[in-house]
């Protein structure tokens, strides 16, 4: 490691906040599984999917796309200069998907029935079955892709060698599975053309979800890299520190190009459905805020940052894009969903739903910190430095 490791401080403001959030989360978990879903949520027959699906699942899956984006850039397209970003991205993706499955238990209930859709009663004509199967397989792939770091930490050299040989196959499998389920999550909403506002509903919804997952993943890698650079600097070695700027600028440039393409296909969607007249309404203003304010603007910020080699611009753009993805997924699943209902029937998440979501986010951050503090994620293990 490049730096002397400082003595770990247990009592810090962040650790205190984490402890409080995790404690409240445990209480909410007990309430959820003893009082039922009606006891802790504002869900009803009009809104059977709420914040746990809109944020924990849709945003969680989109923002975990950094795993397939980074590993395919490095191993499929041969961009080895991004190699140092692969392990953090894979770990984030693994934790993201694991927490998606974890969060799904809160929404679905009966955790012991989780294997049923895959092993007992397959609904092969359902998009949800495809999403479930892909998430099950991709979580397995991500787990296997995470194991080399664990094996290096544990000193299991032979097992590590076997798994590393599978890298390319796992990467290709991961890209295929991601293509399938990222798009299918968007396609889920195509069943409800009368419920979703026409500006968000489109026959290309699956394409929008998949394309946006690409720049969501790249932005998350940049954002997470800047956070690690700020807070876990002492865990990073010279290679990771020197490559982090190139990763941010390269991914920023790629994200900018994909985001411009995304804006283009969104405009095509407006043209195909002839939805221009909605743009002059209040919903249109909200739609334009999402598209211009949270896609076009960060795309331009990325481009200026990448051209001028301005890391601050790229990092701000990455946070802005992540917020934009959250806004887009919440718009589709909550805000523009059931848009025609009177205000009294609209869904607003309960404080216990919000609390559970915050609990799950903190669970992910805690797991990331615990793993990166021990395993060679942000630095190379000294025994394997020559391999890359």
């Amino acid at each position: 490691m490049a730096h002397e490791e400082p003595k770990y401080q247990w009592v810090t403001p962040f650790n205190m906040i984490t402890a409080i959030v995790l404690f409240i989360g445990l209480i909410l978990t007990i309430l959820r599984f003893t009082q039922g879903i009606g006891g802790v949520t504002n869900l009803d027959n009009n809104n059977p999917w709420g914040m746990w699906i809109g944020f924990d699942l849709l945003c969680g899956v989109a923002l975990a796309a950094g795993g397939y984006v980074t590993s395919s850039a490095c191993y499929v397209f041969g961009l080895k200069r991004y190699h140092s970003a692969v392990r953090p991205a894979i770990l984030t993706a693994f934790l993201g998907y694991a927490l998606v499955v974890f969060a799904l238990h809160y929404d679905v209930g009966r955790p012991w029935k989780l294997p049923y859709p895959i092993f007992v009663s397959q609904g092969t004509s359902s998009l949800l079955f495809e999403v479930g199967l892909c998430v099950f397989l991709y979580l397995t792939v991500l787990f296997v892709e995470t194991t080399p770091a664990a094996f290096e930490w544990l000193g299991f050299k032979k097992m590590r060698t076997w798994v590393v040989r599978l890298t390319l196959v796992l990467t290709i499998f991961g890209v295929i599975l991601s293509t399938l389920h990222q798009s299918s999550l968007g396609a889920l909403f195509m069943i409800a053309p009368s419920k979703l506002h026409p500006l968000w509903y489109s026959g290309y919804l699956h394409v929008y979800f998949f394309i946006s997952s690409m720049f969501a993943g790249m932005s998350m890698v940049i954002f997470e890299g800047s956070m690690a650079h700020r807070w876990l600097h002492h865990k990073m070695d010279a290679t990771h520190l020197s490559e982090s700027t190139g990763v941010a600028l390269g991914f920023g440039k790629a994200a900018s190009f994909v985001m411009m393409g995304y804006v283009g296909i969104k405009v095509i969607g407006l043209a195909v459905d002839n939805n221009w007249h909605y743009l002059t309404t209040g919903w249109g203003a909200w739609y334009l805020l999402e598209l211009i304010g949270f896609v076009l603007f960060p795309a331009i910020l990325y481009s200026v940052g990448a051209r001028e080699k301005n890391l601050t611009f790229v990092r701000i753009a990455s946070l802005w894009t992540v917020l934009g993805i959250v806004l887009n997924r919440l718009n589709i699943s909550l805000v523009a969903f059931n848009w025609h209902l009177p205000a009294a029937d609209r869904y607003v998440p309960s404080f216990m739903e919000v609390g559970t979501t915050i609990f799950i986010v903190f669970l992910g951050i805690t797991a990331y910190r615990v793993i990166t503090a021990r395993m060679p994620i942000l630095h190379e293990h000294p025994d394997y430095k020559e391999e890359h």
Binding site: F257, M260, G264, I268, V272, N274, A306
Partner: protein
Amino acid sequence: MEFFTLHDFMTYTKGITYLVMGAILIFMPLYWLYLTDRDD
């Protein structure tokens, strides 16, 4: 714009869509050049 038949609607929307697609096809390579022209 008023439509009386599905054909009217498709002709109008497809016409606009092709114009948008043409604009994108011209814009995206230029944007790529803008993004990469300072690369080493």
